[in-house]
Amino acid sequence: MSVADWIAAVFVVGGALAASLGGVGLLRFPDVFARMHASTKAATVGVIGVMIGTAIEAGGVAGALVVVLVVALLFISAPLGMSLLARAALYDPETPRPSRMAAVDLERSRRESTSARQKRGSPPMLALILLIAWIALFGSLRPNVIASGLVVSGVLALQLRALAPRWPEVLKHPIATAAFAWYFASQVIAGTLQVIRTMALPVDEIRPAVVEAPLRLRSRSEIMLLMNAISFSPGSVALEIRDDHLYVHVLTTDEPDEVIAKIGEMENRIAAAYGRPLEQASFESRN
């Protein structure tokens, strides 16, 4: 076995271990939101670990590109899907609730998208994303693949002009963005380890709670990034946004204020990556 084989083997076994513990967490955790912790963190991160091993062994760049597409999809879809499901379950009377729960203030309106109407999206950006996904899916740079990808992504980008994203503003602040990416990665690892540690606790010592936190970020992409970061970071899954309040499920805590402070810090990091510092006042006034 070569060195690459050994690294791949470690990732495959380690990832499978984390993923299987995520499955076991589904059985052990007391309520549906806590089970989502096991699903989004341990299971997803475990599968991503296996994917890294697969990318090393997948037979060159072509195979690795497909695996990179899978990992990118997992990173976006797993926490997002769970957040949507959690929000639905939050209002479902048949879903058993955690005993300690901040009441959702139904008087507050659901947030309408604010940024979509302010600036127009960029169809070339959409075409570029679609082209990259197309090439990754075929795992090939042959001229016919690129030509067909250009046609398909061009037609789709023109037809779906209304859905086009803007050029990501994070690219303007590479250092802050890299710092956030590093922070995000460390949170993902820490979150997985925390879920696994919590699983070893006796059931009556797992004390889930729903916490309400102020939300200062404004644009849709920032909020989506925050929801994903919260869902991947240790002990929290984002549930619902009402007006400028964020509801977060915490796996086990006795200190809700710590959770709120941590979300505030996360917002600061995201705002820095976008180059739009937040005013501190609204956060401190609530503490």
Binding site: M1, D5, A8, A9, V12, V13, G15, A16, L17, A19, S20, L21, G22, G23, V24, L26, L27, V32, R35, M36, A38, S39, A43, T44, G46, V47, V50, M51, G53, T54, E57, A58, G59, A62, G63, V66, V67, L69, V70, L73, L74, S77, A78, L80, G81, M82, L84, L85, A86, R87, A88, A89, Y91, D92, P93, E94, T95, P96, L137, G139
Partner: protein, 87 residues
């Protein structure tokens, strides 16, 4: 590599069995959907382990399909629960 993939397969089967038990027991629709979503993700891991073990890359695109199906399934069920709640 045969040993590593064998261990990984057994681990994934254990996790998948636990998720399956949760999917059958429920109690709520959301519980079942979380379990099924996890099961699909573990299945993606299983395909990855198979690729590492055999070196056969035929099933690579299947992983993309499984992840997308898991995501769409979760959203559909979330919408279903919301629709049921409103009535």
């Amino acid at each position: 590599m045969i040993l590593a993939t064998t261990i990984a397969t057994v681990l994934l089967i254990v996790g998948g069995a636990a998720a399956l038990v949760r999917a059958v027991r429920g109690p709520s629709v959301a519980d079942r959907m979380v379990a099924v979503d996890t099961l699909l993700h573990l299945g993606v891991g299983g395909i990855g382990v198979y690729i590492v073990r055999s070196g056969d890359t035929t099933y690579l695109p299947l992983m993309v399909v499984a992840v997308v199906i898991a995501f769409i399934g979760t959203i559909v069920v979330a919408r279903y629960i919301e629709a049921e709640t409103k009535r």
